[in-house]
């Protein structure tokens, strides 16, 4: 995405240069390469004879598309319930995160307290940990506070986000202090200042964080697999795995393609609808 954006915002004087055009061409090639698996998934999900056959890898859609794979996939798992569980997990995590990262980001950006810098680095250290090593300690904690096999147990470890705190600290720090001082003169409390000065001005950063958080937790597999036992509490990823994780057998690619499409559809639609806003917020917040 980056080079194409650069291209469109290039000053007029450099528009005739050849390098940006090469860059633009390369981006097109990359975009096509990136699209191939998604296109194949679309095509394969409606291919009647989805298994075997020399035409299986073809990107050209069949003359007679079928909805059989979608019906099979839909019937293979309790999708409505999984959608609901995934939505609850993602929304719950994000809601709490927005509160915690705003307050923590403000504290690290604007509140002077002893050891602030040091504490901030310790906080960032979290980003270095591979999530897998935290599975056992996190699970023990979740079990001890009685959240084993609950959706809340899936959400709990993510309520505080080092990445989000870092992002908000940077966003808040770049907002002119004078604005806050003006509000202070008018007698605004800390929470009012955050609410009326910082949050509205850092909206793009919030949006960018929301995209990252929602996609990460929507797609997460291993942690929900560890916490959840009851079939009716499974999120989409764990439910979908029932067909993609065959051990010694082979797989029905059409059904897998249809199932995968069902899982990513909500996020894909959301992204297409709000595409411009998302891109803008990534640009302003400087992620990616």
């Amino acid at each position: 995405m980056t080079p194409s954006r650069r291209h469109s915002t290039l000053p007029l004087a450099t528009r005739r240069e050849i390098v940006p055009r090469i860059g633009y061409g390369l981006v097109l090639v990359a975009a096509v390469l990136w699209l191939v698996p998604i296109l194949w998934m679309l095509v394969a999900s409606v291919r009647p004879q989805s298994f075997g056959g020399p035409g299986m890898a073809s990107l050209i859609p069949d003359a007679q598309p079928t909805s059989r794979n979608f019906i099979d996939a839909w019937e293979a798992a309790d999708f409505p319930r999984y959608y609901l569980n995934s939505a609850i997990i993602v929304a719950g995590i994000l809601a709490v995160q927005l509160v915690t990262i705003t307050l923590a980001g403000y504290a690290f950006a604007r509140v002077a307290f002893p050891g602030r810098q040091w504490l901030f680095y310790v906080f960032l250290l979290q980003l270095m940990l591979v999530p897998v090593v935290l599975i056992v300690p996190n699970l023990s904690m979740v079990a001890r506070i009685g959240l084993y096999d609950t959706l809340l147990g899936v959400m709990a470890p993510y309520f505080a986000s080092a990445f989000g705190t870092f992002l908000m600290r940077q966003a808040f720090a770049s907002i002119p202090r004078e604005l806050e001082d003006a509000a202070l003169v008018d007698g605004a409390s800390v929470l009012q200042r955050i609410r009326h000065i910082y949050v509205p001005l850092a909206l793009p950063a919030f949006l960018a964080f929301a995209v990252v958080s929602v996609t990460a937790h929507w797609n997460e597999f291993l942690w929900p697999l560890m916490v959840i036992n009851s079939p009716d509490k499974r999120p989409l990823t764990v439910g979908l795995a029932a067909f993609t994780r065959g051990q010694e057998g082979a797989q029905s690619w059409g059904v897998i393609a249809a199932g995968t499409l069902l899982v990513i559809a909500p996020l894909l639609l959301l992204f297409l609808l709000f595409q411009r806003r998302f891109i803008n917020s990534f640009v302003t917040s400087g992620i990616k």
């Binding site: 298994f51 075997g52 056959g53 020399p54 299986m56 293979a76 798992a77 599975i135 056992v136 699970l139 023990s140 979740v142 079990a143 001890r144 084993y148 597999f221 291993l222 697999l225 560890m226 036992n229 009851s230 079939p231 499974r234 764990v238 795995a241 029932a242 067909f243 994780r245 065959g246 051990q247 010694e248 057998g249 082979a250 797989q251 029905s252 690619w253 059904v255």
Partner: protein, 443 residues
């Protein structure tokens, strides 16, 4: 049969109505069974309905089937749950993880439960095929009960055989014949191969199993069946096996280079892109349902002798499950490995049923009569050996797999790869060896 079962269930329901008042007063024991999905999504539902049937026919026990991902993820989840103080009552565990779990004291010894049923360990284990005992019994104590098992098989596309002038009734029995057939079956257009002669899966887990099959067919053992601290990677038998595989790729050019994933191999076979493959008996039902051409199966061809490792999974009870939950888990395990249920699951999946009596049932005889290919896997059991199991089975297996993958990708020579694999494995095994074989009286 369906009628009689329905009557039975109806009678049971009626009995339930009559006795519902007292039974409701008794709290039911809740147990959960962790299970990896062996073949496809359909089977996850089959497992769920099987467990539901168990709960319906066993008042007082409420069992839940918990899907836990792949075999490796099931191990991770089981261990994490145990450390969190929430061990599941029973787990369908890859049969070669049993030894490692026992070494780490993470299993319930089943001897007392068997004794309480009035059986000896030998009598209990004799229900199952002898080849399966070594992965369930450790130092004369029973730690696991075989549930569904497999061996590698040679799958052959009979149409391709005829077309290449080979006789589909005379399948390759030796490595010589296998190589000769693969050369005839491979189709080329210039330098490009349009059809491979043979494919062998080489993703993690499958690769270790296939290497042990080839090594065993070459007279080797792969690991010390009696002691979890020794593997035989840098040996002539494994060197021969790996060189054979490597030459199928580099010298004869009848097998694609690089990592081949199991599902990709079966897809290639079903779509006619490879004429032969080595794959688990666990794929048999899938191949039978989806092959649009006549196919045949045979023993894995030999160089020195016929021998294959077993695969599949066993039921275990984790350590820390006791009292009523342990008793209920034991009832569930015995029910699932009974000839009736075991045979049903075998016909649904393609795995063979470990319980010998399952093959006496009329449904099974009829099924084998219709599908003689399913019988080949059972026959091969007479030459089956135990499955590779050591201290820290997964890392020790990966030590070999990483090196073999380098060979299959053309980046390393077999000998140097096996020397490196042996060194890496020995290092992983060292703490255990120091605590066992090298721990001597300090007097």
């Amino acid at each position: 049969m369906p009628l009689s079962r329905r009557t039975f269930l109806a009678a049971l329901a009626a009995a339930g109505v009559v006795t519902s008042a007292p039974s409701r007063a008794q709290p039911s024991t809740e147990i959960e069974l962790f299970f990896p999905v062996p073949v496809d999504g359909q089977l996850a539902r089959d497992m769920t309905s099987m467990i539901k049937e168990f709960s319906d026919t066993h008042p007082g026990i409420k069992a839940t089937a918990v899907f836990t991902g792949s075999y490796d993820e099931t191990l991770i989840k089981t261990r994490a749950a145990m450390k969190a103080g929430k061990p599941p009552a029973a787990v369908i565990m890859s049969a070669n993880f049993v030894l490692d779990l026992k070494i780490e004291n993470e299993l319930t010894n089943l001897d007392a439960l068997i004794k309480a049923d009035g059986l000896t360990n030998d009598k209990f284990m004799n229900q199952f095929f002898p080849a399966l005992h070594a992965n369930a019994v450790i130092d004369r104590s029973v730690y696991a009960v075989p549930f569904h098992n497999s061996t590698p098989l040679l799958y052959v596309n009979a149409d391709h055989f005829k077309e290449a002038g080979l006789d589909p009734d005379k399948l390759p029995q030796t490595w010589d014949e296998l190589t000769a057939a693969a050369i005839k079956l491979t189709k080329r257009e210039g330098d490009k191969v349009t059809r491979w002669g043979l494919m062998i899966p080489s993703n993690y887990d499958y690769l270790g199993w296939m290497m042990s099959a080839l090594t065993m067919c070459n007279g080797g053992r792969y690991y010390n069946e009696e002691f979890g601290g020794e593997v035989y990677y840098d040996t002539p038998t494994m060197l021969g096996a790996l060189t054979f595989w490597n030459e199928l790729i580099g010298k004869h050019k009848v097998h694609p280079a690089g990592e081949q994933k199991g599902p990709a191999v079966s897809t290639a076979f079903l779509s006619g892109n490879t004429s032969m493959m080595l794959l688990s008996t666990g794929s048999l039902t899938h191949v039978r349902t989806n092959a649009k051409f006549p196919y045949k199966v045979a023993f894995v061809p030999k160089n020195v002798r016929n021998a294959v490792p077993i695969g599949g999974a066993s039921l275990i009870i984790p350590a820390g499950v006791d009292g009523e939950r342990q008793k209920a888990a034991w009832v569930l395990i015995k029910w699932m490995t009974s000839p009736d249920k075991n045979g049903w699951w075998s016909r649904a999946t393609g795995y063979f049923a470990p319980n010998i009596a399952a093959y006496e049932a009329p449904e099974m005889k009829e099924f084998l009569g219709k599908n003689p290919d399913a019988k080949v896997g059972v026959d091969q059991l007479s030459v089956a050996k135990p499955w590779f199991a050591t201290y820290k089975t997964v890392p020790v297996r990966k030590a070999l797999e990483d090196e073999v993958q380098a060979v299959l990708a053309g980046k390393k020579q077999p000998k140097e790869a096996l020397v490196a694999a042996q060194k890496a494995a020995d290092e992983i095994l060292k703490p255990y060896v120091d605590q066992t074989a090298l721990k001597l009286p300090g007097m």
